[in-house]
């Protein structure tokens, strides 16, 4: 449990392009939640 850098983990597992898609998806879902559209 010493590895803590999420970006490095996602980059190693999914690659740069997929990481960008995941980050965008997460951001969109969070906006949705913030706006109370659960």
């Amino acid at each position: 449990m010493k590895k803590t850098n999420l970006k490095q983990y996602l980059l190693a597992k999914y690659g740069k392009r997929e990481l960008e898609i995941l980050a965008k998806l997460f951001s969109q879902k969070m906006k949705y939640i913030e706006q109370g559209k659960k």
Partner: protein, 210 residues
């Protein structure tokens, strides 16, 4: 301090799986510089040793996606066993801090717990609030509560929502994205203390990334 006999005790099948904590002694070596080997043989009861072992130290790590959040995950003692006795869960405590300022709503990533698709949310180390599903709302609504925060003028206002959500639909079912969500009717600021406990079935090695 001579512990060679210890090996012969094991060979003699004198290994036990439970003891009376108040009446059982554990051999220990006390630092003693007057001895050639530097240690003096002594003993401590299981009760006294257990009382002396506190919670592990916690070092928060700044999040790479949301630097306003610092968090860490620590394994904690004890297990949760289902009534059928077949599934035993290990527990992990996620602790952290977050500073919120300048907006009326926040959704900050605390961290991603990786390694186990099944994952329970537990609170106060004992009460199971809800089992995780692939749907955001089940766990989040069970954990929701309102708190008072300071608005732009310094007055206290109540949040409309404040919860920690677990979403494992973003990347992979065994990757749980834990997020702090807080909203209010006006921009507000708050120092938030994050502290919750999760449980996963024994077996898989889980990791925490933030």
């Amino acid at each position: 301090m001579d512990i060679l006999n210890f090996i012969s005790w094991i060979k003699g099948r004198r290994v036990v799986t439970s003891v009376d904590p108040a009446k059982t002694l554990i051999p220990v070596g006390l630092k003693d510089n007057r001895r050639d080997d530097g240690y003096l043989a002594s003993a401590i009861t299981v009760t006294d040793l257990a009382n002396q072992l506190g919670e592990p130290s916690v070092t928060f790590v700044q999040g790479t996606f949301d630097p306003q959040v610092q968090a860490t995950m620590t394994p904690i003692p004890g297990t949760i066993t289902y009534a059928n006795g077949l599934v035993v869960f290990d527990r992990y405590r996620v602790q952290g801090t977050a500073y919120l300022s300048g907006a009326a709503s926040y959704a900050y990533l605390i961290g991603v717990v990786v390694g186990s698709t099944p994952l329970l949310r537990v609170r106060e180390d004992s009460t199971i609030l809800a089992t995780d599903t692939n749907v955001y709302d089940t766990v989040a609504s069970a954990m929701n509560f309102n708190v008072l925060v300071k608005d732009g003028t310094g007055a206290l206002i109540s949040t409309l929502s404040a919860f920690i959500a677990d979403d494992n639909t973003i990347s992979s079912p065994d990757e749980h994205w834990f997020t702090l969500v807080m909203t209010a009717g006006a921009p507000f600021s708050a120092d938030v203390s994050i502290d919750f406990t999760i449980a996963v079935p024994q077996g898989p090695v889980i990791e925490f990334f933030n």
